[in-house]
Symmetry: D2
Subunit: 144 residues, 4 copies
Amino acid sequence: MSTDNAIRELVEKVTNAPGYTKAVGTKVESAEPGFVEMSLAKNDNLLQMNGFFHGGVVAGLADHAGGGAVTTAMPPGRFAVTVNLQVSYLAPAKGEKLIARARAIQVGSTIGVAHVDVASRSDGTETPCAVAIVTLRGVDFPAK
Amino acid sequence: MSTDNAIRELVEKVTNAPGYTKAVGTKVESAEPGFVEMSLAKNDNLLQMNGFFHGGVVAGLADHAGGGAVTTAMPPGRFAVTVNLQVSYLAPAKGEKLIARARAIQVGSTIGVAHVDVASRSDGTETPCAVAIVTLRGVDFPAK
Amino acid sequence: MSTDNAIRELVEKVTNAPGYTKAVGTKVESAEPGFVEMSLAKNDNLLQMNGFFHGGVVAGLADHAGGGAVTTAMPPGRFAVTVNLQVSYLAPAKGEKLIARARAIQVGSTIGVAHVDVASRSDGTETPCAVAIVTLRGVDFPAK
Amino acid sequence: MSTDNAIRELVEKVTNAPGYTKAVGTKVESAEPGFVEMSLAKNDNLLQMNGFFHGGVVAGLADHAGGGAVTTAMPPGRFAVTVNLQVSYLAPAKGEKLIARARAIQVGSTIGVAHVDVASRSDGTETPCAVAIVTLRGVDFPAK
């Protein structure tokens, strides 16, 4: 199994484990060392009162994608947990789908930082809706 | 109806409208001008893989509570939408319940800022798990 | 005078007005609508105890550059003041020069957001040292 | 020498070492484990074009105070360096003096977080002008 396959499997395993990311329907679009793309299809339980994706849902996707980007850039057996999440909302997330692209911009022995662009897609057109910076620290991967 | 009752009704109406905050079970514990307390009971769909509340869920509750604190401090007919959300995670949210207390620390003609303390509660003991600063801008309340 | 010249003159005028940005030696490298590049040469009064640029100096340059990027993207007569500044430090700023490149990523009627990359340069090589997101609101340009 | 004296001496030593904090005139008002208060008197080199303290100067004081609060809460020999700085500006810093009060709200084995209130003082009256959250990581104190 190639390294990239192993990385994608790891990201999918964490994303699809029982819990929040699985419950909301997070989909791993791509994963490689230091970069992941994830998406979330619109459904009634993810919206705010105007019918746009809720800011908390945008933040949650950004957080999860940022964690994936940094974890995949860390040595095997290490896992990144969020220390600080910063989200700037640029426009209402009006589309049918949220897409987050996260890139590790720094990975050190204890700290990693990811930059995340979030867009919403409607009829094939993407509109940026948020940008996030996620700061994480590395811990040992939880034993099974 | 007293002002405070009107404020609580507004916060509950927004929180219980169909969508994310209702779907996850957000409960309004108290609401007055410039301050709201909200809680979220643990359930399997809100957790990360270690069984703690997911960081995105913590962020979402902080965002919603911060919006409530600033909206209730604004003139009637105005509504606060998040521009920037910043969350620092202090400890794993291991408890049975998340509690967010949000206070408006600045409310101007266009911008408001809320400070939010988030704790998790277990067996009656609260442990701080996050602190957030939410920056919002005022818009006219959406017409029905 | 072309628009771009007018924009550069505005940015230089604000930067070189008596006060902090002039006192520390901020230099406008380039300015166009929605983008500015600024630099700061090392001197003893800008460092922390290890001889690197102080984090506050990095933050100040990012703030000022972000303000320039958003102001130059606003209609004439409007000026952007910082509401929220978020800086992630990626590496010590060890070089001889700090360089900030700020780009407006959202400019609306009340709010603008800039993304800023800060690098330090040594012997012609740049090393990223920080990334910042600056949220600003537009106000009328102060009358003379 | 009592512990508190040792702590104050450490904070003053770092603050008064040649460099930015000394150059701008940072004064240590008080220091104890997990809390520091610092001030900065107005002078022409610290202002923006309206005559208020520059946002970068506010950020720099918040950063330095936050670092002091976390460092003093760490075991001897450890030192906190900033990973992430978040500043929300609440009002123009119009006073004669800036005052930052920083409190460590979390100190772990690798990460510490400080909450900082910044006010400006004029004729004995303080007006809150910013609130900051500083995230830091602990490193070994640099050898002399």
